[in-house]
């Protein structure tokens, strides 16, 4: 009928007409009440309940620009050319504004604040990770370093330390299944593709009792699916300096299902294969299905591979260095919500980390495989004012390592495994107005066996959690929490300072057994959090941690190879440690100018015998200032300023000539200089300072959009010191500096459809 009217109208002559439908870019649903004006004229209209619009224009116009606007949606400008026609039909997609999505996130956070007795876990949105200035591309772990309580090893690593604990003390969960190595080889890139992540939570204090496998923190990463209201395919294509990626997802009508598949790969090996014979890829799959109104099944998978194949220039048959590094996770999570007050959850998953390192073909080869099979269930229910949760979890971990040389050395450790069975109970209730209490207890049976080392262990361990939150008013609260934590496996790697802030490709994770009891820590936290007004969230938390038992690889291990039992007994030194500090976060969560200020005061020590020394993660002051600003013309800029006290290091005080004892010649005066080391970690590198800048411009192409992101990492090109070394070509030797990353520009294209 409308079209008939337009036809009759145009037949009368002297007018042009633009019509079409305005709809939501994500859900494809029509949008009513959208204001549409013709730029430079008084003409305009609003869409009807079907999202339909129609504007009559003078016949003399050859082109017009329509400006569409509606609360909660980004303004859209669309230029229309008539090309001699009197009638043009164009549909217009509008995207939800960041402001609106910010509001949703803030609302969810406030709900969590009111309902949990612990301080709200640190969280990051996908937007934060995408817009924040980046090193090559948005990266979860590099964004995390800007949160309070987090310190990092170096620019060359995405390893993070939480409140002074080493990176192995973080339990990283991907859809509830442990991920052993959350980064790619050498650690420069994390394993997390931002486009595959729904949300993350970092528990630094008040960690729930169900997690009792790491001393420092739990990083809970959830992959995302697709909004069920979307019609057809949706996805993202991205192209950066080093990698290209694609994300594709869609709802599926069958059983109310949706899926999202994400893949990313570096491509520099295709451009300069001789100079850079290295690549990595990673992929995520998330399938979510509501099989009934009350049952939901989530299948998730992750695979990453790093591959290095460096060959002799003169002889292609000779492999100088070969590395194959894999991480895999598969998980099934089943949820049953019987009513609004209960939730039954089953989880089952498998995780695997494997590596192969070969030098000169088979001269030196080491392989490792660590599997994790996990099966668990938990049930939570509101009952007479209590929120009860209990669960059972069993985790089986077999380990296989071998080291071989074709010169006759061959060691194989394949009969090492551990099993951890956990039962836990948590309760949260409000004994009086404005007070929330929660408590939890976990009982773990740990069993480990290693035939080669002849070391078994079977024991029960208890852990407890206590938290209280007192609401000063609707939006501010004081919190207190304490608990004890265990860790049952420790990595066999040289001390952090020896690895220089790089992640080694070998990862010999050893289950504790024999006389070695699990590592243990106690946490005490006192916090204050809330909102200063509608926009500003703050949290302030002081903490003190005591480490009763910490194991470090011993420098004096008895490498009596035929007696692996002796080696096992001496491979670790048992130490103690402590850490205390204050985390402060002030975050502006809503508005066109957003960001946060984070400050960390941290002291962290470990013992060596009776002596205590600062751990390599000890940083007295850490300050981050993050700002995002939404500018006109669809520009968004991000600024990150980072400052921290320099890393502790062991300085060199002097030098001496080292001579080998076993040399076959008697005319030997061969020697080389070695350095005398001072007190362990007693010195500080210069303070670390970095400024990163990014600018993102969004272009709209019909219903799709293209983000062009330009970033400058270390925009001031500050020469932050990674470590010192001495140049002995000079006499006396000259101290030289190996710096962290210089200024690194990057460009990234992200196309969404």
């Amino acid at each position: 009928m409308i079209y008939l009217f337009i036809y009759l109208f145009l037949s009368a002559g002297g007018y042009k007409v633009v019509t079409g439908t305005v709809f939501d870019a994500a859900s494809k649903e029509p949008l009513p009440m959208v204001n549409i004006v013709v730029e430079g004229t008084e003409r305009g209209t609003t869409t009807d309940n079907s999202g339909y619009y129609s504007i009559i224009l003078p016949d003399t116009l050859k082109k017009v620009k329509l400006v569409c606007s509606m609360m909660g949606y980004k303004k859209v400008e669309r230029e229309i050319f008539f090309f001699g026609k009197d009638y043009v039909k164009t549909d217009i997609a509008m995207s939800i504004t960041t402001l609106k999505s910010q509001g949703i996130l803030v609302s969810a956070k406030r709900k969590k604040f009111r309902e949990s007795a612990t301080i709200t876990p640190a969280s990051l949105s996908t937007d934060d990770m995408l817009i924040l200035p980046s090193f090559q591309e948005g990266d979860l772990m590099r964004t995390l370093e800007a949160l309070p309580g987090i310190t990092k090893a170096s620019d060359y690593s995405t390893d993070i330390a939480v409140r002074g604990g080493s990176p192995d003390q973080n339990l990283v969960l991907l859809d509830d299944i442990p991920l052993l190595k959350p980064f790619h080889l050498s650690g420069i890139f994390s394993a997390f593709n931002v486009n595959a992540i729904k949300n993350i939570e970092l528990h630094k204090s008040g960690i729930p009792a169900e997690y009792d496998a790491a001393l420092s923190s739990v990083l809970d990463v959830k992959t995302k699916g697709v909004d069920r209201d979307i019609k057809g395919l949706t996805g993202v294509f991205s192209l950066g300096f080093l990698s290209a990626g694609a994300t594709i997802g869609s709802p599926v009508p069958y059983l109310n299902t949706n899926f999202l598949f994400t893949v990313r790969r570096t491509y520099i090996d295709k451009i300069i294969p001789d100079e850079m014979p290295y690549y990595f890829y990673d992929g995520y799959l998330h399938i979510e299905s509501d099989i009934t109104n009350s049952w939901t099944v989530v299948l998730s998978g992750f695979k990453s591979k790093d591959f290095l194949d460096m060959r002799d220039e003169d002889n292609e048959d000779v492999q100088i260095v070969g590395i194959d590094w894999d991480n895999n996770v598969m998980g099934v999570n089943i949820f049953h919500s019987g009513d609004n007050e209960s939730l039954l959850h089953f989880s089952s998953g498998w995780s695997k980390h494997s590596f192969h390192f070969g030098f000169m073909d088979t001269i030196f080869v080491t392989n490792g495989v660590i599997d994790i099979a996990n099966l668990g269930m938990d049930y939570s229910r509101a009952f007479r004012g209590h929120k009860l949760k209990f669960g059972l979890n069993d985790e089986y971990r077999p380990f296989k390592y071998d080291i071989s040389s074709n010169m006759g050395i061959n060691y194989e450790y394949k009969d090492i495994w551990s099993n951890r069975a956990v039962g836990f109970l948590e309760d949260e209730f409000s004994p009086m107005k404005d007070l929330l209490l929660s408590g939890g207890i976990a009982l773990t049976h740990y069993y480990s066996e290693s035939v080669e080392f002849d070391q078994n262990k079977s024991a029960f361990f208890r852990s407890y959690r206590l938290s209280a939150k007192y609401f000063i008013n609707e939006i501010k609260a004081l919190t207190i929490s304490l608990g004890n934590y265990h860790q049952y496996e420790v990595p066999l790697v040289p001390g952090e300072s020896e690895t220089g802030g790089m992640s080694l490709p070998f990862y010999y994770l050893i289950p504790l057994g024999g006389e070695n009891s699990p590592e243990e820590a106690h946490h005490f936290n006192l916090g204050y959090e809330g909102w200063l007004n509608e926009s500003f969230y703050f949290s302030l938390e002081g903490y003190y941690r005591i480490y009763n038992r910490l194991y470090k690889m011993s420098e004096d291990a008895e490498i009596d190879i035929e007696n692996a039992n002796d080696y096992y007994r001496t491979m670790f030194d048992e130490n103690e440690g402590d850490a205390y500090g204050i985390d402060f976060l002030l975050k502006k969560e809503i508005g066109k100018l957003r960001g946060w200020l984070s400050y960390t005061f941290l002291k962290s020590r470990v013992s060596s015998g009776d002596e205590y020394y600062p751990s390599v993660w000890d940083r007295t002051h850490n300050l981050y200032l993050i700002l995002f600003a939404m500018l006109p013309k669809e520009w968004e800029v991000g600024v990150q300023f980072a400052f921290s006290t320099g890393n502790p290091f062991t300085t060199s005080l002097g030098r001496y000539r080292y001579r080998e004892s076993g040399t076959p010649y008697d005319n030997d005066n061969t020697n080389w200089w070695m350095e005398l080391r001072g007190e362990k970690n007693a010195f500080r590198l210069p303070s670390y300072l970095r400024l990163d800048i990014s600018a993102t411009k969004t272009f709209y192409f019909g219903n799709n959009e293209l983000d062009l992101k330009l970033s400058l990492y270390n925009a001031l090109n500050r020469k932050n010191v990674w470590f010192y070394y001495y140049d002995y070509d000079e006499e006396p030797p000259v101290r030289e500096t190996f710096n962290m990353l210089p200024i690194v520009p990057s460009i990234e294209f992200i196309y969404r459809f």
Binding site: D312, T362, G408, G542, Y656, G662, P664, D666, R684, P732
Partner: protein
């Protein structure tokens, strides 16, 4: 409002923890000794050196400290003296062929008024039985190298090294084993040069030398004012001709 002041109190309290003083650590002068008794060597050698500040210039040509007095005494109470060579810091024994296999020696060094003492047990003899000196080895069918079990070797460990081109400053590979055999030539890619000599050495060390060489722990002396190693090594070397 009063609760907001908690923020202020916390922030101000940080000032009390903020200041750190980092002072330069003390440089500690030590004597650095290297005296390794080798039964199969005609003349024994000792180095008496010291530690140096990193910013101090070490005189060219000097290898250490002059005027040290070095003696070794065996179980028969025979005393063997060392005398300083033309090179500062290097000392040679006056007697020849006096260090025996499976023997005990008491070593005493006096340097600038300080006395350093150590008891040394020399391991038993060690001989490579196969291949023989001068043999030809083909990388296509490499031979396993055999030697005898050596009494007194720390942890029953042996260090097998292959020196490229037979020169001491040439590149070498070294492997530890508790076996008395090793197929060192099986990795053909490690030997890019063929139709040339390689030197093969098998060594057994006492504890001091083992920890110094394997762990790079050069502090094997009991005295606080000295470091280095006083120990014993036995070894056998052969030269083999390596072909494709």
């Amino acid at each position: 409002m009063k609760y907001n002041s908690i923020l202020t109190v916390f922030l101000i309290s940080l000032l009390f923890f903020s200041c750190e003083s980092v002072t330069e650590g003390p440089f500690e002068h030590k004597y650095v000794i290297n005296l390794v008794l080798r039964p199969n060597m005609k003349i024994q050698k000792a180095y008496v050196d010291s530690t140096y500040r990193l910013d101090a210039t070490v005189p060219e040509g000097s290898q250490g400290i002059s005027d040290a007095e070095i003696i070794a005494i065996n179980e028969e109470q025979d005393t063997f003296k060392f005398s300083e060579s033309d090179t500062t810091g290097i000392y040679y024994s006056d007697d020849s062929m006096w260090v025996k296999y499976n023997d005990r020696y008491f070593v005493q060094i006096n340097v600038e008024g300080h006395q350093i003492e150590e008891e040394v047990n020399t391991p038993g003899s060690l001989l490579i039985h196969s291949p023989s000196n001068g043999d030809t080895i083909s990388l296509d069918s490499p031979e396993i190298v055999y030697w005898n079990s050596c009494e007194g070797s720390f942890d029953d460990m042996y260090n097998a090294s292959v020196f490229f081109e037979g020169e001491i400053d040439s590149f070498y590979i070294s492997l530890l084993t508790q076996d008395t055999s090793l197929n060192v030539f099986s990795a053909k890619y490690l030997f890019p040069n063929v139709d040339t000599f390689y030197t093969l050495a098998v060594m057994a060390m006492d504890e001091n030398c083992f920890k110094s060489d394997v762990y790079f722990d050069y502090d094997q002396l009991d005295e606080d004012f000295a470091m280095g190693v006083i120990g014993a090594v036995v070894l056998d070397t052969i030269k083999v001709w390596v072909t494709e």
